[in-house]
């Protein structure tokens, strides 16, 4: 009995250590944001946030620049989510329910896109967007980001549609329903969890994206938060507490939303990868 208790204690300590390591950098963002700038660069080390410094979040948002970045990030992410889902649904349905010429090719193509680093296609995409006059615009970033995340969404949704028994569609087909009606009225309501997973993944792919955003936008007011935040690196004019306040405001929505949708996201990602 004593051995079990010792084992349990060891386990509790180990769990606490892992959790501490997992959340520490996020905690440190908050502590830094809530520390007086002069105290940051002194020999004493503040380990707990000083809540009298909550004003640093206000300072960070003052002038509207940071809120503009966050708004750009939000709009680009919503656009990417909408476009990716709109394209992934028909693609997943076709791959799941039909046999057609080139099916293997489409499947392999989807897998290949998951191996391509964004940095590899940045140069040719820059030229394409220049020709389409889509540089320095949110629309351009939505188009670029969706191209990379839509295949993942399609693989997730294909896995979900594969799991729906065909007999359910059979009845609707006998009633003379058209394919599009069958997809929207019968299949989509059954895969809402996977749809939410794909939507969350698409949203945060765009929220976190950096390479395209930094290469395709030039004007300060067109930049999403990832680029704005990275711009603080090596720039000495802004106090570290302000930088960390911005970083925290950029991180918190992502973390909060993931915690909320975690179950769907992980099962969706693995299902997509396993069956893809």
């Amino acid at each position: 009995m004593r051995a079990t208790t010792a084992g349990t204690t060891a386990r509790i300590v180990a769990v606490l250590v892992v959790l501490g390591i997992a959340v520490f950098p996020l905690y440190w963002m908050l502590v830094t944001a809530l520390t007086r700038p002069d105290e940051l660069f002194s020999d004493s080390l503040r380990l707990v946030p000083d809540f009298s410094q909550l004003g640093s979040f206000g300072d960070a948002l003052a002038g509207g620049e940071v809120s503009g970045w966050l708004l750009n990030s939000f709009l680009i992410s919503v656009g990417t989510m909408a476009l990716s889902i709109a394209l992934a649904v028909p693609l997943a349905y076709a791959l799941s329910r039909f046999t057609f010429r080139g099916k293997v090719l489409v499947g392999l193509g989807l897998l290949l896109t998951q191996m391509l680093p964004e940095a590899l296609l940045v140069v040719p995409l820059f030229a394409i967007f220049r020709d389409l006059s889509l540089l320095n615009s949110r629309t351009g970033l939505v188009l670029a980001d969706s191209a990379f995340v839509m295949p993942i969404c399609a693989l997730i949704l294909k896995g979900a549609i594969d799991a729906i028994p065909r007999e359910i569609e059979e009845a609707a087909r006998m009633d003379g329903c058209r394919p599009l009606t069958i997809l929207t009225r019968i299949n989509l309501p059954l895969i809402v969890p996977s749809l939410s997973a794909a939507a969350v993944i698409a949203f945060f792919h765009a929220w976190n994206e950096y390479v395209f955003a930094v290469t395709f936008t030039f004007d300060l007011d067109k930049r999403p938060a990832s680029v704005g935040l990275a711009g603080f690196i090596g720039e000495l004019g802004t106090p570290m507490s302000t930088v960390m306040a911005v970083a925290f405001m950029f991180t918190l929505p992502a973390v909060a939303f993931y915690l909320f949708a975690q179950k769907y996201v992980v099962s969706g990602l693995t299902a997509g990868a396993v069956k893809g």
Binding site: A22, L87, A94, F100, M115, P124, I128, P179, A230, T270
Partner: protein, 314 residues
Amino acid sequence: MTVIEKDVPRSALRRGRRRGAVGSRWTPYAFLMVPVVYLTVFQAVPLLQELRLSFTRTSLLNPGNNEWVRLDNFRAIVEDPEFIRTLTTTLIYVIVCVVGAIGIGLGTALLLNVNFRGRGLARALVTVPWAAPGVAIALVAAWMMNAQYGVVNRALEAVGLGVPDGQILASETYALPAVLATTVWQLFPFPTIVLLAALQSVPKETTEAAMMDGAGRWWTFRAATWPVIRPTVALLAVLMAIWSIRRFELIWLMTKGGPLGSTRTIVIDLYSRAFESNDLGMAAAIGMVGVVISLLLVTGSLIVNRRAEKEAAA
């Protein structure tokens, strides 16, 4: 059944019977057209253009003017000792990420795989690193590793492990371990959550029976747990490898591949050749080498997995 068939138009029935699916033979193409055209324009065409670029000498400053140099770029890469170093760094980076993230992830999953109060909260908190945006992580990691005021340095000094002058990211020796630690920290929640799910399908009776028979923890794990989670681990290894080969912003924002190229992976190399040396042709060639390596890795692991599955089934 026959009653229903009477009400349905002949043609629809014939189609349905022939294809066993909804719609006509053109239906799948109607669903496919827009997504496939979209992926062609924004993935396939740029990839082919990049492939073409890799056989040219092209400058970022004058991209319209490209001179066809056949395999010169690739020859230059192979002969460049710096590129061998990039390959080695990439290899180290990928291996440490895969082994580190899956090892720590498996350990954490085993820790959390018991019933205790607050398990849901613990599982949620452990996902925080994976959910955090890379840019924000790079920033806070750089700040934590700040030579004078970083909390990491202060902690290391307190336990007598301080590095010279507190230089972590500016040191050829410590920059790669620091970047690796940050990457593994960001990756490990994913294997944790996936393996935690996989552990649910390990039958309790088997592990309990093994423990009863006096088998140690390690033996129980080897005999009862490992065979069940092995396919999941294999899949995770492929995913982690692909993700770490692609990883860009964390390394770029922490070190830009430096100091002296000590953290330069293939992706960092290709980006800095394109945008700092303005050499689009070389950048494209390096990128193609990276794509080929990823492809080999994925097909290789798929073949190995399939063979292992066959052996397991036999």
